[in-house]
């Protein structure tokens, strides 16, 4: 774990110095009409050298990163889940055709061809068994990118910058990213285990929309969940448990007695209490009171010390590098007196998503507020 933090820091330093090699890329063909790129899954993908029309599918940040590196105009199709996630911040997405339906991961292949797409960008989960590539390639390149966590982020964004001919913009975004990541990691990296509070982060009841138990949380195979907590200077109580998304027994939470409990609240919970469309904190406050009364949490150090926080899921796990600053501020307010996660969030939305959304006036993303 400490080693991975060290590697991440090294990656940022290299990226800042502009020395990060874009691994797995080579140009082929004398006319340079195509380039061959090794994607996240190790597939050799032949991509047009001048990509003009892109479809971004899957969950979370694929769309956001393509927009952040200045390639928004290339996007001609997306998926329903991305449309939902970005409806408030990048309303333009709502006018794009949705070529994939979330949930089942099904793609409207005919529409992808109809739209004249050059390149489809998907995350590994949506790519699944490769049916998308089987149906679209070689006519349309299918590139798998994983920008869901810190491990490969710099590499992945660099490659997207090269593929989409937005290398300068990608470098600018990565510099911003590195600056904020480093502002946290440079402080937390030196924390010894005793200084790292035990954290239980969960996204509700595993089997249903209720709060649990059992609690839906992250195991060791999670891409983002526990690694963000580690980078933020905490220790997840579930980091060593097998699996990616797991159902945790309430007894275990009582046994481990976390110092912090963080409930990720997603709009799909049908809990209209947090997010872009909510401006009143009353519902979040009520919900927090309900969680505080949970049998599993009642006697915990976290509840006794009033350290139970609600964090909007699309910030916690979606815009995870922004989420990192929220986590760091929650876990170590004394170490980060000047850190302003809301301002960083606003900066990202304004600079890179070119969004007019004002997070200081609208939305509830963390409760209690800092």
């Amino acid at each position: 774990m400490r080693l991975s933090r060290g590697i991440t820091v090294l990656m940022f330093v290299l990226a800042l110095a502009g020395q990060l090699p874009a691994e797995g890329m080579q140009e082929v063909g004398s006319d340079q009409e195509t380039i061959t790129v090794t994607d996240f899954l190790g597939r050799e993908v032949v991509v047009p050298a001048n990509v003009e029309r892109v479809a971004t599918l899957g969950t979370f940040m694929n769309y956001g990163i393509v927009v952040a590196i200045g390639a928004k105009d290339m996007i001609v199709g997306t998926s329903t889940v991305l449309a939902g996630m970005y409806a408030s911040t990048v309303p333009d997405i709502m006018s794009l055709p949705t070529v994939a339906v979330s949930g089942m991961g099904d793609v409207d292949y005919e529409q992808v061809f109809e739209l004249g797409v050059d390149l489809v960008i998907v995350d590994p989960t949506t790519f699944g068994d490769g049916t998308i590539a089987t149906n679209l390639e070689p006519e349309i390149a299918v590139y798998v990118a994983d920008v869901r966590g810190p491990a490969e982020f710099v590499e992945e964004v660099s490659k997207l910058g090269l593929i989409l001919n937005r290398e300068d913009e990608a470098a600018t975004f990565l510099q911003w990213y590195q600056e904020h990541m480093d502002s946290v990691i440079s402080v937390t990296d030196s924390l010894v285990d005793e200084d790292r509070p035990k954290v239980f982060s969960y996204y509700g009841g595993e089997w249903g929309v209720a709060e649990g138990p059992p609690f839906g949380t992250y195991g060791s195979a999670s891409t983002t969940g526990n690694s963000i907590l580690d980078l933020a200077g905490g220790q997840s109580i579930t980091v060593n448990l097998p699996g990616e998304f797991i159902a945790l027994d309430a007894e275990s939470v009582i046994e481990q007695d976390p110092d912090f409990i963080i409930r990720e609240v997603y709009s799909w919970n049908n809990l209209p209490i947090m997010g872009f469309g909510i401006d009143d904190t009353a519902a979040a406050s009520n919900h927090r009171d309900v969680i505080m009364g949970q049998d599993a949490f009642l006697l915990s150090t976290a509840v006794q010390n009033d350290e139970l926080h609600l964090l909007y899921g699309d910030v916690a796990q979606g815009f995870w590098f922004v989420g990192l600053t929220f986590y760091a501020k929650m876990l170590h307010p004394d170490l980060f007196p000047d850190l302003d996660p809301e301002a960083i969030f606003q900066d990202f939305l304004t600079k890179f998503l070119e969004s007019d959304y004002d997070v200081s006036a609208n939305g509830v993303f963390v409760y209690p507020a800092f």
Partner: protein, 364 residues
Amino acid sequence: MASSTERIDALRNQNRRLKEAYQRQRLRKRLFVIVLVPIVLALIGSAISFGSADISFFDVYRVIFTRVFAGDSAEPVTRAHIIVWRLRLPRVMMGVIAGIALGSSGAVMQVVLRNPLADPYMLGISSAAAFGASLAIVLGIGVFGGTYLVIGNAFVFSLVSSGLILALSARRNASPEVMLLTGLALLFFFQAITTIIQYFGESDAVRAAVFWAVGDLGRVDWTMVAICAAVVVVGASLLIWKSGDLNVMSTGDASAKSLGINVGGTRVFTMIVCTVMVATIVSFTGTIGFVGLVAPHLVRMMIGADNRILVPASGLVGALLLVLADTVARTIVSPVILPVGAVTAFLGVPLFVYLIMRRKGGFA
């Protein structure tokens, strides 16, 4: 050549032997149920001693005895109290109640529908409940709000499905064939709508809806246990009360009618009782399969098809299976919890297959 007196004596002896054999068999069947009760109690006693938290056997029972005999205020809210009284015990008790409901309903369904494959979900209860839950989880639409959003939807749609089937079959003399076929049709209908809802849902919400349908005992508290217990005690008692009529109906509708049984009425009545019981359980736990199908067969293979014994014994065997499976589900990879529905089948199938292989007769 034997005289008529000797022949009459021989017949009397044969009759006496038959009577003794019948009484022995009846005693064996009753003993089976009597023995099952302490086994279930012992299993409950063991199940509450296991969990991911390290609590001694003594502490577990100290908490329970203090709570039971000294009341609410005697036991301070401690870690052991929360784990044993608020988390483990309601879960185990719900396993017992759900097992009784599913097992006894399964036994009755198999007789009433004259189909060995019948289970408590035969009238589309599980698919209708899953539809109601998906409606709540994925789209946020519900009959009730708050805590009872999902539970209420699952319950109401279960009843709608079963009510529709019973109403349609009542127009065709409540025949088992009509019940089965309309049940299957509605099962596919609700599955199809659920798929369409989930198709357009966000992946995480769909995942939650799918997990809901798998079934789990961990989402219950004492209030839910009390609601389910009340329904199941009344329901199971009614099924046992009607089990004598079910014995007669096993010989065929015509002969049952000739003996004065209201076949259609009994069929609809028992189906309503089963539906209300199972719909209540499903609403709180999700769909826990296999128990309702297998428990009656296990009992039938061991003690025969007398419904007066079969119905209560199936309930107890159902409780046994479910509590055992749940204990495994929450301890085998502790503290990660496995869905009890999956574990139930995993544990029960080998036993079931073994008994099928040993069995000589059919399944009628």
